[in-house]
C-alpha cells in the first residue's frame, strides 16, 4: 500500500485514467474495451490517451452490446488476460447481467478454480446530472446479492485510483461503480450552489505512481460520537456536508467496498455511537441500505439506542426534472439525523 510520490491534483476522471495507465504499463495482460473507449477516450474521457499509448489491440471500441462486452471479457480472462470493460452508464448494464451473474461470478466456483474471471467492470453510476431515468441509476444492490462478485464505489480521486488498481489486480470479478456526479468535484447535495472543483480538496492530491487501497477496507472519514453514517460515493460528501452544517458530531464511514464489507469498522463505530443511518441514492426497497441495516441490527442490537434509519432515493424511477426531489440530499439526511439523535 506504500504510496508513491510525487502527488498531483487530479479529479476523479484523471485519477481513474491514471490508474488504468499505470496498470496497463505494468501488466501487458490488461485490456480495455467498451463503447467509445478507444480513439475518443470514452464519453466521460476516463480512457483518454490510452489507445494512443497502448495500441488498438489493448484499448478498443466495441459494438454496442453489453452482453457481448462482458461475454468477450470472460473469454479473454479465460485466456489469461485481465480485461477492464467499461459499461458506458450503469443503467445499461442489464443486458450484460447474465454474463456477469451466471458466468463471471460463478466461473471460479463451478470449475473449482480451473477457470477464473479477473475482470474489472467500470461503470459511471448515480444521478445528479439531469440524466433522467436511464442515465442516473445506482444498481449496486443487485451485484451485492450475487455470490462471487466484489462491488466497489470510490468517493474521491485518491481512493478512485488506489481502489481501481486494487480491483484490476484482484483475481475475482469486480464491479467498479464511479459516481459520475463527483467526477469533477465533490458534491454535498446543495444543487443550487456552484460546483466546487476537486482542485483544493485534500483527497484530490493523488500520487502519480502506483499504490493500492485494499478492497474490503472502509475509511472513517470523520470521527464522531453522536451517530454513525454509513455511506459511499456521492453520499459521503452529503454526509460530511450535513455534519458540518448541523454541527452534529457524527462519525462518517465511507464504505468504499460493499462486498466484501468492512464489518469491523462498522461494528466498532456503531457500538460507540449507538445510532446509525445508512445512505444511498438507489431506490430504498431492497437497496444495499437494507443489507446494512439488517447487519447492524443483527450485530449491534444491544448497542442501538434507535432504529437504524435509511436515507435513500425513493422507490420510483429517477425522474428527470425532479431529480433533486429524488436525490437524498442534506434536508432528508438532516431530518433523519435529528430523528435518530432525538430517539
Amino acid at each position: 500500500m506504500g504510496e508513491a510520490e510525487p502527488t498531483r491534483g487530479m479529479n476523479m476522471i484523471q485519477a481513474i485514467n491514471s490508474a488504468l495507465d499505470i496498470c496497463m504499463g505494468r501488466d501487458a495482460d490488461i485490456t480495455v474495451l467498451g463503447e467509445d473507449v478507444g480513439y475518443f477516450g470514452g464519453v466521460f474521457k476516463a480512457t483518454e490517451g490510452l489507445q494512443k499509448k497502448y495500441g488498438k489491440t489493448r484499448v478498443f471500441d466495441t459494438p454496442i452490446t453489453e452482453c457481448g462486452i462482458i461475454g468477450v471479457a470472460v473469454g479473454m480472462a479465460a485466456y489469461g488476460l485481465r480485461p477492464v470493460p467499461e459499461i458506458q452508464f450503469a443503467d445499461y448494464i442489464y443486458p450484460a447481467l447474465d454474463q456477469i451473474v451466471s458466468e463471471a461470478a460463478r466461473l471460479r466456483y463451478r470449475s473449482a478454480g480451473e477457470f477464473t474471471a479477473p475482470i474489472t467492470v467500470r461503470s459511471p453510476f448515480g444521478g445528479g446530472i439531469f440524466g433522467g431515468q436511464t442515465h442516473s441509476q445506482s444498481p449496486e444492490a443487485l451485484f451485492t446479492h450475487v455470490a462471487g462478485i466484489k462491488t466497489v464505489v470510490p468517493s474521491n480521486p485518491h481512493d478512485a485510483k488506489g481502489l481501481l488498481i486494487a480491483a484490476i489486480e484482484d483475481n475475482d470479478p469486480v464491479i467498479f461503480f464511479e459516481p459520475k456526479r463527483i467526477y469533477n468535484g465533490p458534491f454535498d447535495g446543495h444543487y443550487d450552489r456552484p460546483v466546487t472543483p476537486w482542485a483544493k480538496h485534500p483527497q484530490a492530491r493523488v500520487p502519480e505512481g502506483y499504490y493500492r487501497i485494499p478492497l474490503g477496507q472502509a475509511a472513517v472519514v470523520r470521527e464522531g460520537e453522536a451517530a454513525t453514517l454509513l455511506c459511499y460515493g456521492t453520499m459521503v460528501h452529503v454526509a460530511l456536508g450535513v455534519a458540518q452544517e448541523t454541527g452534529i458530531d457524527v462519525e462518517v464511514i465511507d464504505l468504499r467496498t460493499l462486498v466484501p464489507l468492512d464489518i469491523e469498522t462498522i461494528e466498532t463505530s456503531v457500538r460507540k455511537t449507538g445510532r446509525c443511518i445508512v445512505l444511498h441514492e438507489a431506490t430504498r426497497t431492497s437497496g444495499f441500505g437494507a443489507e446494512l441495516a439488517a447487519l447492524v441490527q443483527e450485530r449491534c442490537f444491544y448497542s442501538l439506542e434507535a432504529p437504524v434509519e435509511r436515507v435513500t432515493g425513493w422507490d420510483t424511477p429517477y425522474p428527470h426534472s425532479l431529480e433533486w426531489a429524488y436525490f437524498p440530499g442534506p434536508v432528508r439526511l438532516t431530518q433523519a439525523l435529528k430523528r435518530v439523535i432525538g430517539a
Binding site: E35, D36, G38, Y39, F40, V43, K56, T57, F60, D61, T62, P63, I64, T65, E66, C67, G68, D91, Y92, Y94, P95, F130, G131, G132, Q133, T134, H135, R284, T285, W314, D315, T316, P317, P319, H320, S321, L322, W324, A325, Y326, V331, R332, T334, Q335
Partner: protein, 422 residues
C-alpha cells in the same frame, strides 16, 4: 485431439477496424459506389426472401443527380404530397435548430438532432397508415412532426415544464404520443425492437389490420434485442417493418465497429430469411417507396421487412459531444448522397412544382411557426426555471394504485420540503 506434433504456426493478429478519416484528414469519397438511380429491381410484394437476397447489398435510389425520379421504385407521388414531405423535413430541421440553441442557452439539459436524416422518418410518416404503431429510437422526431403532432407539445416535453404531459419524468426528446401511434421512447438502445414485433404479432393474432414499425441506429443493431426481434419476426411472419438508420456513426464509433466492413446492415435480415432492402436514406422518394412496399407486404401477411437506410449523421451525436474530436470535419460536406431536403427541393423544381421563392417562403413560415410555438412553450417554463411539476407527481404512475410505501415516501417528501421551507 490432433496427434500431429505441435506445429510451428504463424502468429495470429487481431484486426481492429479504423474509420478512413480522422480529424484533420482530407476526405475523399471518389471510390464510393452509389449505384445508379432507378437501377434496382422492385420485387413483387409477396416475393420470397430467398429470391431477393441481392437487394440487401444494392442501394435503392430513385432521385438521380439531375433531380429526376427514375426506375421501378418511383412512388409517383402527387406534387402536393411531395411539397408536404418537403415542408415536414424543413419543419423538422428548423425545430432541431431551435431546440439545439435552447440547450446551448441552458433552457434544457439535452438535445439530439436528426440533421441529414430527415427523409427516413418523414417518408415513414407518409407511407404508413396513421393507425400503424411506431416504435422509434431517439432520432425519429420527424415521425411525430409529420404525423401532425404539435411541436409545442414536444417542446414542453423537452423543457420538462408545466405543459409536459410526461410530467418532467423523462429526459428531453424521450416523447410518448399514443394518439400519434408513437411509442414511448426508451433510453436503452434497441429495446423497442422486440416490442414492435410483439405489437405486430398481437395485431395479427387479433385479425386486426394495423402493422408495426421500429427504428434503431446501425450501432444499436449489435444489441441482443435486435436479434430476438428478427428471430421472432421471422418465425411468426410478423407484420412489422424493421428500420435500421445507418448514419455511419454511433457516438464516436464508425459503422465498422458495428460490422460494416464485412457486410451491410440490410444483410443482417438475410440470416433470418427476412426480406431485406437497402435504400439511399437521403432520397425521400426511395425511402417512401421501400416503406410502402414493406407496409403492403406486411398487410398482405407476407411477413416482415428489414430496411437499411444509408445516410449520414451530419451533426454531433447529441448536445453532449463534439464530432470534430473523432471524425474529419470534411465528411459532412463530401458525403456523396447529399442532403435530403436539397434533393427533394431540386426534384420539385425539375417537376416545375416549386421554386426558390416558394422555398424561401416555406423556410420563413416554418421558422416562424417554430418560433411562435417555442415562445408559447417557454412561457410554460424551462428546465431551470424552477420545478414545474408538483413533487407528488413523482410518486404517481409507478403503479396503477399507489401502495403504502410510496404513500409514505410521498408524505416524507412533503415533510422534507416543508422543513426546507420550499
Amino acid at each position: 485431439m490432433s496427434d500431429q506434433p505441435r506445429r510451428n504456426l504463424p502468429p495470429l493478429t487481431l484486426h481492429v477496424p479504423e474509420p478512413r478519416f480522422r480529424p484533420g484528414d482530407a476526405v475523399d469519397y471518389a471510390d464510393f459506389d452509389r449505384g445508379t438511380a432507378g437501377a434496382v429491381a422492385r420485387p413483387p410484394i409477396d416475393a420470397l426472401p430467398g429470391g431477393m437476397r441481392d437487394h440487401a447489398y444494392a442501394l435503392i435510389r430513385v432521385l438521380d443527380d439531375e433531380g429526376a425520379a427514375q426506375g421501378p421504385w418511383n412512388p409517383r407521388l402527387s406534387a402536393d404530397r411531395l411539397r408536404r414531405m418537403l415542408r415536414d423535413m424543413a419543419l423538422t430541421r428548423a425545430f432541431d435548430e431551435r431546440m439545439y440553441r435552447a440547450q446551448r442557452q441552458g433552457k434544457t439539459s439535452f438535445y439530439m438532432k436528426c440533421t441529414g436524416e430527415e427523409a427516413t422518418a418523414i417518408a415513414a410518416a407518409h407511407a404508413l397508415d396513421r393507425g400503424d404503431m411506431c416504435f422509434p429510437s431517439y432520432r425519429q422526431q420527424g415521425l411525430l412532426i409529420a404525423r401532425g403532432w404539435p411541436i409545442g407539445d414536444m417542446m414542453c416535453q423537452i423543457y420538462s415544464n408545466a405543459g409536459d404531459r410526461l410530467k418532467g419524468r423523462q429526459m428531453p426528446i424521450m416523447y410518448s404520443a399514443r394518439d400519434a401511434g408513437f411509442f414511448s421512447i426508451s433510453g436503452n438502445l434497441a429495446t423497442q425492437y422486440p416490442q414492435a414485433v410483439g405489437f405486430a404479432m398481437a395485431s395479427a393474432s387479433r385479425g386486426d389490420s394495423r402493422i408495426a414499425a421500429c427504428w434503431c441506429g446501425e450501432g444499436s443493431t449489435a444489441e441482443g434485442d435486435f436479434h430476438s426481434a428478427c428471430t421472432f419476426a421471422s418465425v411468426y411472419r410478423a407484420p412489422v417493418i424493421l428500420n435500421v438508420i445507418n448514419n455511419q456513426w454511433a457516438i464516436s464509433s464508425f459503422s465498422g465497429i458495428a460490422g460494416a466492413e464485412n457486410t451491410t446492415f440490410a444483410a443482417r435480415g438475410i440470416g433470418y430469411g427476412i426480406a431485406s432492402l437497402r435504400v439511399d436514406g437521403n432520397d425521400i422518394l426511395a425511402c417512401y417507396a421501400v416503406l410502402d412496399w414493406a407496409a403492403e407486404r406486411a398487410r398482405g401477411n407476407h411477413g416482415p421487412t428489414l430496411i437499411e437506410y444509408f445516410t449520414y449523421r451530419a451533426e454531433g451525436h447529441s448536445t453532449s459531444d463534439d464530432p470534430t474530436k473523432y471524425r474529419s470535419a470534411e465528411e459532412r460536406g463530401a458525403w456523396p448522397l447529399g442532403d435530403p431536403i436539397a434533393r427533394l427541393k431540386r426534384h420539385l423544381i425539375v417537376l416545375g412544382e416549386w421554386d426558390d421563392e416558394r422555398h424561401a417562403a416555406m423556410d420563413k413560415d416554418v421558422a416562424e411557426h417554430v418560433r411562435d410555438e417555442g415562445r408559447k412553450a417557454e412561457a410554460q417554463g424551462t428546465l431551470h426555471d424552477g420545478l414545474s411539476q408538483p413533487f407528488t407527481t413523482m410518486f404517481e404512475d409507478v403503479f396503477e394504485e399507489q401502495p403504502w410505501h410510496l404513500k409514505e415516501q410521498s408524505e416524507a417528501m412533503q415533510a422534507e420540503r416543508k422543513a426546507a421551507g420550499i
